[in-house]
């Protein structure tokens, strides 16, 4: 079966590039923690556990090779967050970048928000390809000239120089979250953004960093009564008053900021009714939503829980319109997955540009794509073994029954340390970025 793709069932995926070290001994700092394309797809940002951001830029398509879309090469890299210490609580604050979100481009510079557990930063990435030369008082190397040698007056001019990409922090938004930030989302108004932690959601103005509005607070007066936490939040892609947040109990609440300043009362609550006969110790844990993403159209939203991906129509709260099983074979392994903590892994999910295909990661460096229109799904693998340039990825299969076919892998042979938690889809083209533990794979659609 050919790979699932943008509305066309014949899309095949090819290896394009892989970034990162080959060695198996992975330093903690190199663990990739977030991947995000910007709005044009020209830039691809990654964040890691060491607090660093690396931005790749797509090379323009060369006329010699129209078969290949441009490669992504390093554009800029900087240290976004440093480790800190909370003296009041005697706790370390990790520098790990939890999320990166790009702002839509308004001028020559690019802006992105990056966040760790406690602090959000607005970074400006700008290019410099000219520099002024011909100062009157200074030499080219910066030393001051002997004034006696200055006999004429000249006007400095800009001359071309080698491209320099500079990243500078423009705003630091701190001290607004008692708990750990899990999401940030830029509003379609391009003026505000939200940040969500386990119990609260705050609204910020991008220009103002010394105050923020609390818009959701689910902290109970008595912490003993705590039953759920916020797991993800996102603004609607074109309705600037609407946002959603998901919970550890598997519900999604949609809020309208026009209704009141504090959106504790949801406008809509999306929850799939559960069969009480099937309830087990694990039910609530596996129903916890690890990611929520609006479709580009704004008509649907997608949620990821431990075993499945669900598509919801915003007009229908009672149940999802589509459910896709990511790795149902794990249901009979929940005991060991609880013991090794894998049951708490937070997988993300993403839409393709025209909302026809969704993608999410799994274990053993497998990732899955579900074509909504053609009702097809495919499992692919990100591995160095399939990393010959432009080699087509072969669909993978996990065997669940007793008989294992050739080329299939049995559930017990899956490597649960190789998890693909973060994936991203180019907003316009069939180019995907898939992060394994410490490597970033870029795959492209096979073009003939």
């Amino acid at each position: 079966m050919a790979g699932a793709g943008g509305g066309n069932s014949d899309v095949q995926w090819c290896f394009s590039q892989v970034k990162g070290a080959i060695d198996d001994d992975v330093a903690e700092a190199d663990i990739i923690s977030t991947v995000e394309f910007n709005h044009s797809g020209e830039l691809l940002a990654t964040g890691d556990k060491g607090g660093r951001v690396v931005i790749f830029q797509q090379e323009p398509e060369s006329k010699n090779q129209p078969q290949c879309r441009g490669e992504y090469n390093v554009y800029s890299t900087f240290q976004s967050h440093e480790p800190e210490f909370d003296y009041l609580k005697s706790l370390e604050i990790e520098e790990k970048i939890n999320k990166i979100r790009w702002l839509p481009q308004k001028n020559a510079a690019q802006f992105l928000l990056s966040t760790n557990d406690k602090t959000i930063k607005l970074w400006k990435i700008s290019e410099r390809d000219k520099r002024p030369e011909g100062y009157n008082l200074k030499e080219e190397d910066g030393r001051y000239r002997d004034l006696n040698t200055v006999t004429t007056l000249r006007v400095p001019v800009f001359r071309p120089m080698d491209l320099m990409v500079e990243a500078s922090p423009r705003r630091v938004f701190s001290n607004a979250h008692t708990y750990h930030i899990n999401s940030i989302s830029v509003n379609s108004d391009c003026e505000t953004y939200l940040s969500a932690d386990d119990l609260r959601i705050n609204l910020w103005n991008l220009e103002i960093n010394d105050r923020s509005f609390n818009i959701v607070d689910i902290k109970p007066t008595n912490m003993e009564e705590l039953t759920e936490v916020i797991t993800a939040a996102e603004f609607h892609p074109n309705q600037c008053n609407t946002f959603v947040y998901s919970s550890s109990k598997g519900t999604i609440r949609l809020c309208d900021m026009r209704a009141s300043a504090l959106c504790d009362q949801h406008a809509k609550q999306f929850e799939e009714p559960e069969d009480p006969n099937n309830r087990s110790f694990f039910s609530e844990i596996i129903s916890s939503i690890s990611d929520v993403k609006f479709s580009h159209s704004g008509r649907y939203m997608m949620t990821r829980d431990y075993l499945s991906v669900k598509i919801w129509d915003l007009n229908m709260e009672s149940r999802p319109v589509e459910t896709y099983q990511v790795h149902e074979y794990l249901r009979s392994k929940l005991c060991s997955l609880y013991e090794n903590d894998c049951i708490f892994d937070k997988f993300e999910c993403c839409w393709n540009g025209n909302d026809s295909v969704v993608m999410t990661g799994s274990y053993n460096n497998f990732f899955r794509m579900f074509d909504r229109g053609y009702r097809q799904d495919v499992t692919l693998e990100a591995s160095r073994e399939n990393s010959k340039p432009r080699s087509v990825l072969k669909p993978r299969k996990v065997s669940t029954g007793g008989k294992r076919k050739k080329d299939e892998i049995s559930v017990d042979s899956l490597d649960f340390n190789k998890k693909i938690l973060h994936t991203a889809w180019h907003p316009l083209d069939n180019i995907i970025a898939v992060a394994t533990t410490n490597n970033l794979y870029i795959f492209q659609e096979k073009l003939n």
Partner: protein, 113 residues
């Protein structure tokens, strides 16, 4: 499955099989309860959530103890730093030599290599 085979199973075995077939989750739950008999009934309860809210182990520090230990060090020969990087907990008062270096991530990301 042939009818002959079905006929040889006992009623209990059949019920167990049905349970497993109906809900692999419940079978897994039974396994977990067998391994950890003291496990609380409600996993989603506030205990699990509160553990989730507090990431990491608090690293307590008493400046009085620290300064006294430093003062004692001045009067004696400095002891050699422990060769293994063990967690400094319990009765041992940390001295500057013992503390693991607070890492500064000046090393470039390997993705940019």
């Amino acid at each position: 499955m042939s009818e002959e085979v079905e006929g040889t199973r006992t009623a209990e075995e059949k019920q167990e099989m049905e349970d497993t077939v109906i809900s692999p989750e419940k079978a897994e739950e039974a396994k977990l309860k067998a391994r950890y008999p003291n496990l609380a009934a409600k996993p989603g309860g506030s205990d699990l959530l509160r553990k989730r809210l507090q990431k990491g182990v608090p690293k307590y520090f008493d400046s009085g103890d620290y300064n006294m230990a430093k003062a004692k060090m001045k009067n004696k020969q400095l002891p050699s730093a422990p060769t293994e990087k063990t967690e400094i907990t319990g009765g041992h008062i940390p001295t500057p030599q013992d503390l693991p270096q607070r890492k500064t991530s000046i090393v470039a990301s390997k993705l940019a290599g």
